[in-house]
Amino acid sequence: MTEYLLLRHRNRGEENIADLDTYLSLGGFEAYEKVVTTMTPQEVIDIVKASGLRGRGGAGFPTGLKWSFLSDRFPRYVVANSDESEPGTFKDREIMEHNPFQFLEGLMICAYAAQAEVAYNYCRGEFWELTQVLESKVRQLNDRGLLGRRVFDTDYSLQINHHLGAGAYICGEESALLESIEGKLGQPRLKPPFPADRGLYQLPTVVNNTETLTNVPLIISRGPEWYKSIGTEKSCGPKIMCLSGHAKHPGNYETPLGITFRELIFDLAGGIRDDKALKAIMPSGASAPFLPASDEVLDTPLTYEDIPKIGSQLGSASIILLDETVDISWAALKTMKFFEHESCGKCTPCREGTYWMYHLLGRINSDKAEQADVDLLGEVAQQVVGKCLCPLGDFATSAVFSGIELFQNDFNSHIPDAVNGADNPNKNK
């Protein structure tokens, strides 16, 4: 891509677009002014629907469709999900640090479309300094009359507030996030009802990811047809791919949806650190199955529709690379430590299951396990999957199921007298 659309601060020749005057001089807030002064909320929703934009927070749900589901009650709320806590994800932070106004403009357009007069931006607590900067940006927008009462002399008023989380991954799950804004424990709600019907304070609410919202001003100003021309038919638009782990050049890469793993990893990110061989890919942080570094996988396009075909998920495109030196049972242990720590404790299979899986993986990694422990690990995962209130429970089992299936030797090599120990390349490490 020649032009950055989301990471616009990277475009050469442009000044600091985190500065309000600069952003305005580049056409900033024209899309917002256009929708507020010339369009109905329904027209905005129709444009976003037509663009094919899908949520970037993980599930890939069509954004315009989500907005159209709002129940016919008022007041309504709009919430930006800037909790960004999936291991391997660091895109929303770059957007908010360097291109904050495009995100805020997207949030404001979303609020108008939802006819909400109050919007919250929920930032993870660790974004403490960043949130202070964002609060000052919001004050600037109030001072310029872009936020506040009767913007552009219309009947529409809008206020943006920030709410800081305090270190809980589960608050990225939208209903837990809403509980957290309500001053409660960040524990997911039973769905339905969905937030569009009963969200914040039981009122109709839209929750969208930061990156999702950052797309919206462009869709308004350049049109849905233009937007749809980027990416694939079912996965439209640009996407920020977060590349971490053993990449030679880890970082955020903005590309059209639909480039392949190979293009991303080898053409854009310089390949694998120290020119080692790539062993496995975790395409969606800690939450989706490992993929082996096969040609089939490497040639798979990064889209919502293609990655499930090879057994994993695009999620929010937090792509962790593991080179040939990595023991997959250790990677599974690290992953499980995360889920054991982050389980909110509301349902027993997740709370107990993550504890036991962590315990068993610890045993395996300290070479104290027997074959029965590896078998038990799979059995515990089986007791968790599909039995939990929110997707975190299922997420926690991904690394176990796929790790054992694809890299069995990495588990068995820790077991004295493992059946296949003889032909195990890791045996003498």
Binding site: E84, S85, R93, N161, G186, G245, V326, T335
Partner: protein, 180 residues
């Protein structure tokens, strides 16, 4: 707890901030302010004491148990005292693939503590934490103290040393084996 025994610190010392926080939420949803008020209280120290929690409970018309449950659930609030500065090193998978566990060991060695422990002078607690959305800039850590939370990315041991000296106003072990 009766109102005349309760602490007034937030309401007297930070009355403007308290007012600003309450304004962010609907009048009948004051409970929403519990998290920002807990963060505000941390300016006075990283521990949610009974008197802090009872003042917040009073401001918001909720029970002290409800405040305590929030402190217990969210990891950036503390029921027990620790170091004045909490050095929180990310050792989650992506950072660990780029040397974060070794880095954490070296920081511990520098300060003469184990992960989770506090230095004798009460200045620093070193902890390992989950992903902080900075995975491409490993090794990294954040420091939480009364001033808030600050990120330190792409760190070497000598960078950490500088941060520690600046924060703790202390001379620490500069022996070569501690350096990178």
């Amino acid at each position: 707890m009766s109102s005349n025994t309760a602490n007034q610190t937030l309401r007297t010392r930070y009355s403007a901030e308290v007012k600003d926080i309450l304004q962010r939420y609907p009048d009948d949803q004051k409970r929403s302010a519990v998290m920002p008020l807990l963060f505000l209280s941390q300016k006075e120290g990283l521990q949610a004491t009974v008197s802090v929690m009872s003042e917040i409970a009073q401001i918001l018309d909720i029970s002290i148990t409800q405040v305590a449950s929030i402190v217990g659930f969210y990891t950036l609030y503390y029921a027990h005292s620790g170091g004045k500065n909490r050095i929180q090193i990310c050792t989650d998978l992506p950072c660990a693939l780029r040397g974060a566990d070794d880095f954490a060991d070296k920081v511990c060695e520098k300060l003469g503590v184990k992960l989770g422990e506090t230095t004798e002078d009460g200045e620093f607690t070193v902890e390992s934490v989950m992903c902080l959305a900075a995975c491409d800039k490993a090794p990294m850590f954040q420091v939480q103290n009364g001033d808030g939370i600050t990120y330190h990315e792409r760190q070497t041991i000598s960078d950490v040393q500088a941060v520690i000296e600046q924060l703790g106003n202390v001379e620490i072990d500069k022996s070569p084996e501690g350096a990178e």
